[in-house]
C-alpha cells in the first residue's frame, strides 16, 4: 500500500514537475494493444511494428524515430517490473485527471522522440535507461557510431575532393545527462565514390565512456540527382532530343559532358531510344573511366503551321512507312 502511494506521488511529481513540457506517454497506444494485453500480444505487436519501422529494413520517412518510440514502449511493457511501475503511474495519472476534470489523453502537444526519451528517463532514470543500438550509456563503452548523409555532386566525384561537414554528437555529461556536441570536420571524398557507399572515419563518432574508444563516423554517400545526366554504375546517360528531320537526315549535335562539351555525330535514319556510346566520358571507375551514353529521343514541334502540315502530308504520301507493321504480323 505504501508502495502504491509512493508511486502515485511519483506520478504526481512527474506530472507536476514537467507539466505541459512533458506528456505522459501511452506505451499501450504506441504498440496498439489494450492495457490488459498479455505478454504474447505485446511481443507480437512489437515484432510487427519493428519489422515495419526498423531503420535497417524500412524505407518509410521517419521510420527510425517511430522505431525508437516502439522499442521504448516494448522495453517497458515486456518487463514485468517496469510494466508494473508504469501501470501504477498510469493509474495515478488517470485518477488525477478524474479529480481535475481533464479529459483523458488531453496532452495537447506533439509527441516527439525526444519527449519519449525524456519521459523514459524521468520514470526509470538514466541508470535504468534502455539499451538500444542507437543509444550508448553503459560504463566503459565504446562511443556510439554516427552515420550522416553526404550529398556529393557528380562533378565532385571526378577527383579527390575535400568537403566540410558539421554534425551533432550525442554524449553524456558528468551528471549522466544527454548533451549534444557540434563537430566540424573537413573530409576527403575519394574520386569515384558511388551512390550508397559508406566511408568510415575511425574515431570521429561519439566519445566513448570510461576511457573506451570513440565511435566511428560513417559518411553515407548520396549522389545529388543531375538535371541532365543519369548514373548507371560508373557510366552516365544523357537524353538527346532530336527533331524528326535530324533523326532522318543525320546531324551534328553539341552535347554537354561533366567536363566540357563535345560534338556528337547523328547518323541518318537514327531511331528514338538508340544509345550512342562516347568512350571515357563517364564517371571515374576502379578499372578506368566509364562511358557516356547518349540516348536519342525524337521530339515533335509543339505546334505546326499550315505550310509545315502540308509538307508532312507530302512526306506521308511518299514515305510509305507503316510504324505498326509488326502488329499485323501478330
Amino acid at each position: 500500500m505504501l508502495e502504491v502511494i509512493s508511486c502515485q506521488m511519483q506520478a504526481a511529481c512527474l506530472i507536476e514537475k514537467n507539466g505541459p513540457l512533458m506528456d505522459f506517454k501511452d506505451y499501450y497506444a504506441t504498440l496498439g494493444v489494450q492495457p490488459d494485453a498479455d505478454d504474447k500480444t505485446i511481443k507480437t505487436a512489437y515484432r510487427k511494428l519493428a519489422r515495419q519501422y526498423h531503420p535497417d529494413v524500412s524505407s518509410l520517412a521517419g521510420a527510425e524515430e517511430k522505431f525508437k518510440e516502439v522499442a521504448e514502449a516494448y522495453e517497458v511493457l515486456h518487463s514485468v517490473e517496469k510494466r508494473a511501475e508504469y501501470d501504477e503511474l498510469r493509474q495515478a495519472r488517470q485518477q488525477r485527471q478524474h479529480y481535475s476534470g481533464a479529459p483523458p489523453g488531453a496532452s495537447g502537444s506533439r509527441e516527439t522522440n525526444q519527449d519519449f526519451a525524456d519521459f523514459f528517463e524521468s520514470m526509470f532514470g538514466s541508470a535504468g535507461a534502455r539499451q538500444t543500438p542507437f543509444d550508448d550509456n553503459r560504463f566503459a563503452q565504446k562511443g556510439r557510431d554516427v552515420e550522416i548523409e553526404m550529398p556529393v555532386f557528380l562533378e565532385e566525384t571526378l577527383e579527390n575532393t575535400s568537403k566540410p561537414v558539421e554534425f551533432m554528437l550525442p554524449y553524456r555529461d558528468e551528471q549522466g545527462r544527454m548533451q549534444e556536441l557540434k563537430k566540424s570536420l573537413k573530409v576527403k571524398i575519394p574520386a569515384g565514390v558511388r551512390d550508397g557507399e559508406r566511408i568510415r572515419l575511425k574515431g570521429q563518432g561519439a566519445p566513448g565512456s570510461g576511457n573506451a574508444a570513440n565511435g566511428d563516423l560513417y559518411l553515407h554517400i548520396r549522389l545529388v540527382p543531375h538535371p541532365l545526366f543519369d548514373v548507371e554504375g560508373h557510366n552516365l546517360v544523357i537524353t538527346v532530343p532530336l527533331a524528326p528531320w535530324e533523326a532522318a537526315l543525320g546531324t551534328k549535335v553539341t552535347i554537354p559532358t561533366l567536363v566540357g562539351k563535345i560534338q556528337l555525330t547523328i547518323r541518318p535514319d537514327s531511331q528514338s531510344g538508340q544509345r550512342l556510346r562516347i568512350k571515357g566520358k563517364g564517371l571515374v571507375g576502379k578499372s578506368g573511366p566509364g562511358d557516356l551514353f547518349a540516348v536519342l529521343k525524337v521530339v515533335m514541334p509543339r505546334q505546326t503551321d499550315e505550310a509545315t502540315r502540308k509538307l508532312w502530308a507530302q512526306l506521308a504520301d511518299k514515305a510509305g512507312f507503316d510504324p505498326r507493321a509488326e502488329w499485323s504480323q501478330a
Binding site: H54, G196, R200, T239
Partner: protein, 106 residues
C-alpha cells in the same frame, strides 16, 4: 576545429574488436558471402573495407531488435541487400522513364 581525415581498411582482428559478435558468427558471415574480404587467403591475411563494420553492426541490430536467429542472418542480409539494389534500380528506371514520358496537358 577542422582536421582532414580519410577512409581506412581493417583486418579481421580489428573487425573483431569493433563488433560484439563471436568469431564463429563473424566467420559465418564471411563463409556465406555476406562479408567479402578485399584481399587475403585466410583470417590472418584478410583485409576488409571499413564499411564491413557497419554491415556487422546492422546484423547485430537486426538480430537484437527483430529477434532473428543468427543462423538466419545471412539470408536476411542477402535479401535486404537485394531489396536495396531493386529500390536503387527502380529509382533509376523511374528517372529514365521520366525523361521520355510527357503527361498530356488538358
Amino acid at each position: 576545429m577542422m582536421s582532414t581525415v580519410t577512409h581506412v581498411h581493417i583486418n579481421f582482428a580489428e573487425l573483431r574488436q569493433c563488433v560484439s559478435i563471436s568469431e564463429d558468427q563473424l566467420l559465418q558471415l564471411v563463409t556465406e558471402g555476406i562479408l567479402n574480404p578485399r584481399t587475403g587467403q585466410g583470417p590472418e591475411e584478410w583485409e576488409f573495407d571499413s564499411t564491413s563494420v557497419s554491415l556487422v553492426h546492422k546484423a547485430e541490430r537486426i538480430c537484437h531488435d527483430l529477434a532473428v536467429d543468427w543462423s538466419d542472418m545471412p539470408l536476411v542480409l542477402g535479401l535486404l541487400e537485394e531489396v536495396q539494389q531493386l529500390r536503387a534500380e527502380n529509382t533509376y528506371l523511374r528517372q529514365r522513364l521520366g525523361r521520355f514520358l510527357q503527361d498530356e496537358q488538358s
